[in-house]
Amino acid sequence: MSDDALFEFLCRMGDNTLVLGHRVSEWCGHAPVLEEDIALANTALDLIGQTQMWLGLAGEIEGKGRSADDLAMRRDVWDFRNILLVEQPNGDFGQTMMRQFLFDLWHLEMLKALSGSSHDRVAAIAAKSVKEVQYHVERSGDTVIGLGDGTSESHRRMQAALDLLWPYVGEMFVPDHIDAQMSEAGIAPDPGELRATYDARLAEVMTEATLTIPDSGFAHKGGKSGMRHSEHLGHMLTQMQWLQRAYPDATW
């Protein structure tokens, strides 16, 4: 296993939480009800904190003196390694919560596996994160159920959100050469192995939510490899990185 591969893997973990944390933070001050506003901010704060840990470690492994902030604020789109799902726009609140749930469910299984990583630092970050994400998935799952099984309008919107985001689920489970190196070294699981648990839990929640999982195995790819992000990511970076780019000599 090379340090390059580990760096790549850590960027995947950190970019997922960075990009999703950013998206969720966009809700601050605009949520449907105060309690949700506060809850969304907690989720975003957890994700930003996890980003600092993953990208911090990535920078150390890389050994070129880049900090978590350098990685977050000074890389361009093609260097980002997050999955496409998390960079999708917020849409309405239902779409945001559906995206959150589809991610949280994978995230939890991933972190559980990483808690037993052969790499101590990876295991430690995962162990801390897993408690936060356990709560995320409970909350997003409950909300998906509540809105799916709510009014006819909320049901319609949640089904539309699931249909829209479903093609972005597959990417989480497709292994590549980085994953192969990680699982060989006992650092991370083969993502394909997480699918069975994910599907089982997903089916339970969607049944309770009275939503239908689309009958399609199609999956968009290109986020975690960095080959082809969606157009949305670039726009997000223009905001997120603007100050650091405009005033490169400043400290904040």
């Binding site: 960075l18 950013h22 933070s25 966009e26 601050c28 001050g29 605009h30 949520a31 449907p32 009800v33 105060l34 309690e35 949700e36 506003d37 506060i38 901010a41 907690n42 975003a44 704060l45 930003i48 904190g49 980003t51 600092q52 978590a68 902030d69 977050a72 604020m73 309405d92 609140f93 239902g94 909300t143 159920i145 509540g146 809105l147 099984d149 709510g150 009014t151 309008e153 909320s154 049901h155 919107r157 997000m236 905001q239 997120m240 603007w242 100050l243 650091q244 005033y247 000599d249 400043a250 400290t251 904040w252």
Partner: protein, 325 residues
Amino acid sequence: MYAQMVKSEATQEDPEKLATFQARIDAGEKIEPKDWMPAGYRKTLIRQIGQHAHSEIVGQLPEGNWITRAPTLERKAILLAKVQDEAGHGLYLYCAAETLGVSRDELTEMLLDGRMKYSSIFNYPTLTWADMGAVGWLVDGAAIMNQVPLQRTSFGPYSRAMIRICKEESFHQRQGYDIMMKMARGTPEQKRMAQDALNRFWYPSLMMFGPSDKDSVHSAQSMAWKIKMNTNDELRQKFVDQTVPQAEYLGLTVPDETLTWNEEKGGYDFAEPDWKEFFEVIQGNGPCNTERLAARNKAWDDGKWVRDGLLAHAEKRSMRKIAAE
């Protein structure tokens, strides 16, 4: 302040009850929701706590404006946590108002259709990152000045909300000043941003305390009821006296050429803000009134299906539970 120019209601009630009520307040007792209280006390409190709560909620917007552009991960987290606290403070205050017999949704509707006001300060734009520093330092600084004495207010739920808020808010002003220190000691551009932020927020911050109230009858009634603890001018003076040395420490210039230390009164003499501008902002003509109210209306309208959906689910579930029993 967060509650500016709250009109207090005249009261026509049984003089004996009124006297007992006033005696309780004078003795420092807390009034609790189910205790007898004059209708004017109740009305004034609903108005004041409501306006305070609305200010916290609208107050999320100017700072929320920079969350997605915060320059580092740590600054982003701190700012997000701070704005989240504002939402929490609004929530506590709405709950305090609800103990007086008005619902949160009703209060919200009155904010959204303009029947109730929020603090003038949140109608000013945040244009650079230094504004996050200035808002924390000046706006939260001014708010704390008012909120600390309000912990002793006569209405129990309001007092308890204020105690919780003050405890949480202690980090807000410090994080603002921390940003100002970084900016004021940073690159020439950062320093320029810091000075510019102080220039733009100085007078609007002074306006937060409201116009001079020494002649106001309403103010006297509210002070007798201990729902207003100090006069606007007292608090404004205290704020200036506290803030000027802090600006000097940063190496920034307060945008007031008349500012001078007055040895005799032991405080600064300073220029009044432009009260015409203040009344324009209150009337809806501030730089951001339209955007702020539009943003809150959009959040409320877009959120309706969510609130209805989750409630419908809860009702279905409890029906199913009853049916199963």
